[in-house]
């Protein structure tokens, strides 16, 4: 048969030329120094602090180096609801941000391709909130959603909310704040992926009997996985450790405290440094585990 002649000419993965050069190491040096100084040192210090014991004769806030692993048991028993709540809130906020950002990013990156000017304008609008401090914006939302605000009084007037209900201080308000604040972080990576999306794949899928919903599920979503993974990571990781939205000064209340608020209180108010450090280490490890499982499951290696 005709094909047998060239059936064996398989193309192997490209061989990347390797070369070692002292210049490359030299260029890496500033980065390595920076990481050692500003990442590794604090991390080691944090780890050591998390095992500290209260000093025998000292005041509150005086600790000595020790190996008191009970600190970890203590914080987990004390703050398990906060830990679970943090990841729950972060998860819901990430999903909501994805649901809002995907159509937006698709519109800017695919539908608006024919009008590059409108495309850039819309991108500027997505980034525009960054021109104002996010503390101010969150405070503004506190005002907008306060009990006396137009929105809440209107909702109460049409009986969509009970007359004695509040919005600020509830878990819903915290999730709202997280979603709002992280939408640009979700939209931008999604946009960069969708902007490069080759529409010929979508045409090929519809030529192969896939109706629009199937085209979206089987082709568009898998091809935009790099953006989805990047966006969800950029949202989930900071959201899980966020302590602004859930703070009582902003959108949170006593029932909506997150792990970030607990760490902040332990470090700055209670001066229980080992507890705060242990919580930080736990937060970091759990995020690391969740993220590595997620990235592995998403399987985007060949698309990234």
């Amino acid at each position: 048969m005709a094909f047998a002649a060239f059936a064996t000419t398989t193309s192997e993965a490209e061989q990347v030329p390797r070369r070692k050069s002292p210049v490359a190491l030299l260029l890496l040096l500033p980065g390595i120094l920076y990481l050692v100084l500003f990442f590794l040192t604090p991390l080691v210090s944090l780890l050591l602090t998390s095992f500290q014991a209260p000093s025998e004769f000292g005041d509150i806030g005086q600790y000595t180096y020790a190996f008191r692993w009970e600190n970890y048991v203590q914080v987990v028993t004390d703050y398990l609801p906060h830990i679970l709540r943090s990841f729950g809130f972060a998860l819901i906020a990430t999903v909501l941000a994805l649901v809002f950002s995907y159509p937006l990013a698709y519109f800017i990156g695919v539908t608006a391709r024919r009008w590059p000017l409108a495309q850039s304008l819309m991108l500027v609008l997505v980034i525009a909130p960054f021109f104002i401090s996010f503390l101010l914006r969150t405070l503004a939302w506190k005002q907008i959603l306060s009990d006396e605000s137009f929105i809440i009084t209107s909702l109460k007037a049409v009986a969509l909310m009970a007359p004695d209900a509040h919005f600020t201080g509830t878990p819903a308000a915290v999730i709202f704040g997280l979603t709002y604040n992280f939408i640009p972080f979700m939209t931008l990576p999604l946009y960069t992926t969708l902007e490069r999306l080759d529409l010929r794949y979508l045409e090929a899928a519809s030529d192969l009997y896939a109706h629009p919903v199937e085209v979206f599920r089987k082709v568009t979503i898998p091809l935009s996985m790099p953006g989805i993974v990047a966006g969800t990571l950029l949202t989930f990781i900071p959201a899980a450790g966020d302590y602004v939205n859930a703070s009582r000064d902003f959108l949170g209340g006593p029932d909506s405290q997150m792990i970030g608020n607990v760490i902040e209180a332990n470090f700055l108010v209670l001066q229980n440094y080992p507890a705060a450090a242990a919580l930080s280490i736990i937060l970091m490890s759990v995020i690391l585990i969740i993220v590595s499982i997620y990235v592995k499951r998403a399987g985007t290696e060949e698309l990234l």
């Binding site: 005709a2 398989t10 010929r200 794949y201 045409e203 519809s206 030529d207 192969l208 060949e302």
Partner: protein
């Protein structure tokens, strides 16, 4: 869904009064076309002639401004691409990069909920001899292999109509020949109707039963490849499908089986059956390989037309044949392909020569002679080189 079963065999395709306008230009003026079931039909034309738009209209990726599209007698104009019993082999192949070769091939079967998609996909991959690479991702395959996967992905669905959008454009010559052969074999085995869009006249002629030459949104001429080559109707066809020497002049004599045309004072005879117009100013032509070169004035022969003397202005050797450019006073430049029966060129550059050809080989065009100059063959070596370069550039850009 109407497409839940395999089509038993290919179906007729009929385009009725198709027109397609895009903002700013008209891609297709008015197109009526009927492709019988089981045939291999080629739409041939230069880039921008509307052939790819025609294909996209049939696939459902574009909507016609006016007209109807029928497959097997059924009007499918309003149907979405996924509802049509049509599959396309795209120029870019458009293999899904996130799926294995096998999943790519099984994609259409799964969408239609056909039993045992994996086994059928393997079968299709065996047909293109790529079953051993089923677990690979498309990026790990060579261009030729990707092309075969794209073909398997389309034919596995047994569409009533298979659309080929210059699928061989990116292949090198050897692979291209092998794929052409393979496509023909598959067509004969499976009995599909093929609609092949190409700008490669040689590909169209070797593969298709029927070729339609498209130009500026219209079909100029349609027929079997030999017929188009032997009897082109218009100057565009005469020069797009191979090369032609064209002359314009008044008809000065007519008999029952031939017409005589005066070209620069010489009487050229063309068989009446091979001439589309028999009165007034007409354009007649002769293919370069039908011309014989003479170093001295040939003896008068009633069965042959003679022209000359002329001067050889360029000789280029291409292995099998030698191409001569000859200027004849008051006629213009003639192009002659001579088989290399002897060593080296027969005529030298600057030499005086005559050309002659068998009366039976001439043809007369249907074009108004006024139209012809815009297609007049510019046959200087430099302009041929420039044309080749331009066509290569467009080819590269399309890929």
């Amino acid at each position: 869904m109407t497409t839940s079963a395999f089509a038993a065999q290919g179906a007729d395709l009929e385009l009725v009064g198709i027109q397609k306008r895009f903002p700013g230009f008209t891609a297709i003026e008015h197109l009526d076309l009927k492709i019988p079931a089981g045939s291999f039909f080629a739409l041939l034309g230069p880039s921008g002639c509307g052939k790819t738009t025609t294909l996209r209209l049939v696939a459902g990726l574009e909507e016609p401004t006016a007209g109807r599209i029928l497959i097997g007698g059924k009007d499918i104009t309003g149907q979405k691409p996924y509802q049509r019993p049509v599959n396309t082999v795209f120029q870019s192949y458009a293999l899904f990069p996130h799926m294995t070769v096998l999943e790519n091939v099984a994609f259409g079967l799964r969408r239609r909920r056909i039993d045992d998609p994996v086994a059928k996909a393997h079968e299709a991959l065996r047909l293109v001899e790529l079953d051993h690479l089923a677990a690979r991702k498309p990026q790990q395959l060579s261009g030729g292999q990707q092309q075969r996967v794209a073909l398997a992905r389309a034919i596995v669905n047994r569409p009533a109509l298979l659309l080929l959008d210059e699928p061989l454009g990116a292949l090198d010559l050897k692979l291209r020949r092998q794929m052409q052969l393979e496509l023909k074999t598959i067509q004969e085995e499976v009995g599909l109707t093929f609609l092949h869009v190409t700008h490669d006249q040689e590909e169209a002629m070797t593969m298709a039963d029927t070729v339609a030459v498209m130009n500026k949104g219209r079909i100029e001429q349609m027929g079997a490849p030999e017929e188009l080559y032997e009897l082109p109707k218009t100057a565009f066809v005469a020069n797009f499908l191979g090369q032609s020497n064209l002359f314009t002049g008044p008809v000065v004599g007519i008999t029952s089986d031939a017409i005589a045309v005066a070209i620069a004072g010489q009487k050229i005879v063309v068989p009446a059956a091979r001439a589309h117009r028999h009165t007034g100013e007409v354009t007649i032509g002769i293919r370069p390989e039908k011309l014989s070169l003479h170093l001295s004035a040939p003896a008068d022969d009633h069965a042959r037309n003679t022209m000359g003397p002329g001067r050889v202005i360029d000789v280029s050797f291409s292995g099998v044949s030698t191409q001569y450019l000859i200027t004849v006073p008051h006629v213009g430049t003639l192009i002659v392909f001579a088989q290399n029966m002897a060593f080296g060129p027969v005529a030298e550059e600057g030499g005086e020569v005559w050309v002659s050809w068998d009366i039976k080989h001439g043809f007369g065009l249907e074009d108004e002679p006024a139209d012809t100059p815009r297609f007049e063959a510019d046959t200087t070596t430099r302009s041929i080189a420039a044309q080749r370069r331009a066509s290569l550039i467009t080819e590269l850009e399309e890929v």
